[in-house]
Symmetry: D2
Subunit: 163 residues, 4 copies
């Protein structure tokens, strides 16, 4: 009914851009999101490592501008996929399907003249066409792992894709 996530963290490595058999861009990366300090007094700073998936134009923008270590804000929704692995066992994968990504550190290392921060949205406004908040990140075919069938060009039409 309602499913919204907002995260700020740092990329654990460079983003990975891939394409579905139908040619749709998908970028994945992991955000390290530091937990609040705990009273337990553990020495190491703890973090949650959260997988982020972006599609289409936003995927390409993320692949172009995000790099390992960059501070980044992500807005999206939680998605739980499942697939059967090679031993026939069902595996559950939880990801955040992002529809809004903010680059909180400029590429040059944070100096003001570069602007400091930039934006990227799922969709792309009027000229980009077609994208709707009503179907941000949805799409039935996502149930399959787009990376499982990599190289095996099964039939995915653009209509099946999330936005």
């Amino acid at each position: 009914m309602l499913n919204r996530v907002i995260l700020i963290g740092r990329l654990t490595r460079d983003p990975e851009l891939r394409y579905t058999p139908a040619g749709v861009a998908v970028t994945q990366f992991t955000l390290a999101v530091d937990r609040p300090f705990t009273s337990g007094g553990s020495k190491e700073r703890e973090a949650d490592f959260i997988n982020i998936v972006t599609w289409r134009q936003l995927a390409e923008t993320c692949a172009n501008y995000l790099r390992k270590g960059r501070l980044t804000a992500v807005e999206g929704r939680i998605q739980v996929r499942n697939y059967d692995n090679n031993e026939g066992k069902r595996v559950y994968v939880t990801e955040v399907i992002a529809d809004n990504v903010r680059f909180l550190e400029s590429s040059g290392g944070g100096n003001r003249e570069e602007g400091g921060s930039s934006n990227a949205n799922a969709g792309g406004g009027y000229s980009g066409g077609g994208s709707g908040s009503s179907n941000r990140g949805g799409g039935s075919r996502e149930q399959q792992d787009p990376f499982i069938d990599d190289g095996k060009p099964i039939d995915i039409s653009d209509d099946d894709l999330p936005f």
Copy 2:
């Protein structure tokens, strides 16, 4: 850069549907959002009364299905408008521009057969066309109060509108 609000509360009265001079639907209502219990022990339950604005298709859906007292979830962004009032004084108005509204109580009074809860999004997906999460609720012309110039048909084109 990032501006997201999620509220659950009850309508203080029936929603009001109006149209801009260009014929675009706008619906306004107020949500009473109860505050968490306080330690201060005040007798009356306190609430914040928050003005909600919806546009276009979502405005019409809200006008059709929401009623005074209904429990409702709203997702959107904070907008601060200002205009000069009749004494020439600048007035600031803070509203939540909703792009997602969830009806948490069915019209019939909560019985299960009616389904219990329903949804409405800004935009409306592919067939609805045109709406994008990248410009949810944006639009420069909103700076003017759409209700100030009511009846005075100044020129607002659909292109100026938020989504």
Copy 3:
């Protein structure tokens, strides 16, 4: 750095209340969160099934008042735990650690006299003591699965717990 999730959905089954060896209450349940309608036109309504964990007082309140099928709002943060399963393989588990749960349907089936909706927060204010938004749901010991070592009373002190 920042990690916030808000969900509205229905419980797929009754919540499960358990206790850690140190006697701290933990309640788990799964929310079925319907996805927005897709253009793909699949017949079945799709949903994400998201695991929710609550601790302490909130755990007991959820166990007492939530039931299968109830419409419920959850606010919290994403946590990714991992543990080594019985085959020595590392397993990753993603959950939402809730610090705020809203019961959107009264137990009696939704009639108004019962109040319609109720609230429960992590902590419990001044008299409840000790709980802080700065450490909502944190805690290093959570890294282990509290249900894995069930019945094996290893040493967990209350100080290790999230809030």
Copy 4:
């Protein structure tokens, strides 16, 4: 029932730290939050200017570390206060009561060795004591403008305060 806001923007000026007659710290600042690009094609970048209020320890931390222009993330809830102004007219003020503020730019101008970003929470964990997510930012006395009765030491006890 549920009231959550997350914003990322820049301070329009240095934060202002004041104290209530009872000696409780309150800091106010304004965030300029850029709107998403619009199709309307207005030349100037539009922003919403949103008033933020923080209390107690978080107020002091914000006053110490935030400065005009800094990119900042704020998490909190919308509050609508009202008071009667000097002409006897009721004035409504909408603010975000923050319980979590993230400093996304280090004071030194963004260089990496300074760490890049820091955190501040309402409350302050176990040793800080007493803070609870159940009463984040609540409190009946806030209904009066804390700055209206400045210098007029009326009786406000710490117990009346939001967290």
